[in-house]
Symmetry: C2
Subunit: 327 residues, 2 copies
């Protein structure tokens, strides 16, 4: 039986989700990729922490050790730019394929890493960077084969959307809605990246790179969040039957990409009007297809991990000879 | 340069759309599949009808002639069960791959044709049978690699949805809404297949085959349309803030598939509540991803043709050696 060796960087919520799905679905995976998946090592920050893991699995805080085991594919589930970028770059140069969920890192270095991957005959899957288990990247990639995309409008931050929903549908105050989001694990203790639109901005830049092959200059993108909205703003919107959403949008005019993240009052005919709670959604206007809207969970352990494992399956199916080792 | 020979069955709205997209996007296509696409023949009912087509193209009413030109791929854009099934079957047995938009034929004979295709090392693309350019089949196929699908709810008939929208949002009578749909080309002169739920039923059976590998017995599926709804039904729904939609649903309990097509009043939190006009939409509940909702045009020349051409590209990319001829 052919074996595929995989490693995992990061054992937080998403990392644990990947581990669980790989462990609990061995038969399905084997059927899909025609090979057995062996996890060889997990990179963590603190190796002394108690974890309930099989003893065959190397738990280490050193990237060298991970690479020494010669994995075919690495799942990267760390947060933030560094050391994730550095680790991924080294792995790609060694011919390892990467599946990542790291939006900040990929928004900043996606193009350069994709180039490194191409040079080394490996692949990068990044579905999980944008809208978790909702297959936005896959849908757009397929659409782009034949359709020019003329416009994108999206709700890409689940935390903001959860807060906006509770303010507008339940009449909550901003502070109470934020507290509720935090108590449910939908908002970080420091929620500023979500509330200022930065999280949505990273995802929008990943989409820009995918759709137009490039990104606008970051300082030319107007990026605004929801924290300065007043109860008056919500009342005004409500009176005309509208709902305020944190909208990320992308258009191209005369070869210039216009990208924006901003709160916008949508009327009830807008396809994103009814997207409530922590969901994400995207409206993509294709040249031939017309507008397509895809909605689904914007975060969560299993949705995000599922997106990563699906990327893994796709990578294995499209380059089976490169990435399996016969034993 | 490698050449792929294609033929087209049917030159109605969808067939013309396929012809146009293939003709007007030769460069994009060549980039996607690494081969030049040559259309060799078009099968029509009436060869005497005036058509503005290149003289290099054989226009014929005989399937033998189409097959004599040894096409690699055939686009099938005929309506109804026969002779479409017979033509496709013969083509598959000759090793030709098929891209079809024919829902009635594929609901009835999909499984048998897929088996014939497998036996002959060819492929069938059928994205366009269900919801036109909205890539439902592709999304579900990808999801199924890792996720068990626990539930499906969908709006699969654009005509009914258009009529329901105009009754509920504009206060039109059923008769006026139907006339409007007919005048806009959204409803046939004989709209009974749409209004009785039969069109949605065919698409639901295609989804059942895809998701569960089988279909329920057709006479055990409750299939109800919208023509018997009364103004009272709409008033009752409206009073509680609901909207009536023609809902096609699929669930599996104890290995039994429960499929239904029926008008149902949805409340404003339902992901299909805001799907208005001729759009189609589907909510698919995945084991790990949770509920995903995809919405887009349910009919139309270019959306449907675009789905067929995307299927063609996928078929060519996944089996390039089988289906191209070096010249």
């Amino acid at each position: 039986m052919t074996v595929v060796k995989v490693a995992l960087l990061g054992f937080g919520t998403v990392g644990q989700g990947v581990f669980e799905i790989l462990e609990n679905n061995k038969e399905t995976l084997q059927k899909q990729i025609g090979a057995e998946v062996h996890m060889t090592s997990i990179l963590v920050k603190n190796i002394d922490k108690q974890r309930n893991l099989p003893s065959s699995l190397r738990v280490t805080d050193r990237m060298e050790e991970v690479l020494q085991q010669n994995p075919d594919v690495i799942f990267e589930a760390i947060n933030g730019e560094e050391p994730a970028r550095k680790y991924i770059n080294r792995a790609l140069e060694k011919g390892v394929s990467i599946i990542t969920a790291n939006k900040e890192m990929f928004a900043k270095h996606g193009r350069s890493l994709l180039n490194t991957a191409e040079k080394n005959g490996t692949a990068i899957g990044y579905e999980a960077t944008t809208a978790s288990g909702t297959p936005i990247i896959g849908m757009i990639s397929k659409l782009l084969q034949m359709n020019r995309i003329t416009k994108v409008e999206a709700i890409l931050n689940g935390t903001s959307n959860y807060i906006l929903t509770h303010i507008q549908e339940e009449g909550m105050s901003f502070e109470n809605a934020l507290s509720l989001a935090q108590s449910k694990g939908f908002a970080e203790v420091d929620p500023s990246s979500d509330l200022k639109g930065i999280d949505a901005f990273y995802k929008l830049m990943i989409l820009s790179e995918l759709i137009y092959g490039t990104q606008p200059k970051w300082d030319q993108v107007s990026c605004d969040g929801i924290s300065h909205l007043t109860s008056n703003d919500f009342k005004t919107a409500g009176r005309s039957g509208k709902r305020i959403k944190l909208l990320a949008s992308l258009e191209q005019h005369n070869n210039q990409i216009i990208a924006r993240v901003e709160p916008k009052a949508l009327d009830s005919n807008h396809p994103l009007f009814s997207v409530n709670g922590v969901d994400n959604a995207i409206m993509v206007d294709g040249e031939f297809t017309g507008p397509l809207t895809l909605r689904g969970p914007g975060a969560g352990k299993l949705p995000t991990a599922s997106a990563m494992v699906e990327d893994f399956i796709t990578a294995m199916q499209t380059r089976p000879l490169l990435q399996t080792i016969s034993i």
